[in-house]
């Protein structure tokens, strides 16, 4: 049985075509965005794989009861979000971070970046940007991290994020604003931005530690 937060509220708009999709179709469409979402949330490839598996097991279990009251994307992302927040609650006393996504990029033959999605130049730039931004993202509370990742990396609109996180639109706007404000502060303190010879944005850590303040 799904946790109650993963059941869908009554909404005027129904997505009945979504309700007739097979699990295999849903997996094909959502495996990649959900895996990347969970990787960005956890910054740990092994954990992201486990949480992706848990997400799709819950999708499989919940699919017979899914009636399209929310869009399929909202429903699947809501499950993934709950899975990740459950993970962080379980791990709340653990502060270690074993591996992070960009360590995986350098060492793992599977889970390689998609050449169509990320060019070698982009990956090089990602490595250069990684320390400042990854550390910042990791310092955010998980529900702020979810809002920021869903919007700026998964491409969701504020209204969709409100449905996924089961919060008001104003709450989404507040979380996004605060997370971005902190990101900008952290990068301003901790990084010197520049465009390199490829015209790619890169950063050099400065003497400041880039800690995110409240």
């Amino acid at each position: 049985m799904l946790p109650s937060s993963e059941t869908v509220d009554s909404q005027p708009e129904r997505h009945e075509s979504d309700a007739s999709r097979s699990f295999a179709d849903i997996f094909d469409d959502y495996q990649r965005p959900i895996y990347n979402y969970l990787l960005r949330m956890t910054q740990d490839q092994a954990v992201a794989e486990d949480l992706t598996q848990e997400t799709f097991i819950r999708v499989h279990r919940g699919l017979p009861g899914f009636r399209g009251e929310a869009s399929l994307a909202t429903w699947v992302y809501r499950i993934a979000t709950n899975v990740s927040l459950d993970h962080f609650r379980r791990r709340s006393t653990v502060t270690e971070r074993v591996t992070r996504s960009l360590d995986v990029v350098e060492t793992d033959q599977e889970g390689l970046p998609d050449n169509k999605a990320a060019s070698p130049e982009q990956l090089a730039a990602a490595s250069e940007m990684s320390v400042c931004v990854q550390d910042f993202i990791w310092q955010l509370p998980p529900n702020y991290r979810a809002a920021l990742v869903l919007h700026d990396l998964q491409g969701m609109k504020n209204g969709e994020i409100a449905e996924v996180l089961d919060v008001s639109l104003d709450t989404v706007k507040i979380r996004l604003h605060r997370a971005r404000k902190k990101l900008r502060e952290a990068l301003n303190i901790g990084c010197d931005f520049a465009h390199d010879e490829r015209n790619v944005l890169v950063c050099e850590p400065t003497a400041g530690d880039g800690e995110v303040g409240e």
């Binding site: 992706t52 598996q53 889970g111 919007h151």
Partner: protein
């Protein structure tokens, strides 16, 4: 529109979440105000940094096999 109002709405502007009337007012102000343009560029730079840091990765093929196996045990 003044600078304070413009800067309060810059993230919604960059998110493409503004109503047409508000959007037009912001664009008009940005066209005339270098300070607010710099502020918009600063927010945009943060988004670019975020997107550069987390490129889209392919899913390990072993994951699908693991999920198939897990799902079969539920059927």
């Amino acid at each position: 529109m003044n600078c304070a109002d413009c800067q309060k709405s810059l993230n919604l502007y960059l998110d493409d979440e503004l109503e047409p009337q508000h959007l037009a007012e912001i664009e008009e102000h940005l066209a005339d105000c270098p300070d607010c343009r710099r502020e918009a560029e600063s927010w945009q730079r943060c988004r670019n940094a975020l997107q550069q840091t987390f490129p889209d990765l392919t899913v390990p093929s072993r994951l699908w096999r693991k999920i198939q196996t897990a799902v079969k045990t539920l059927d």
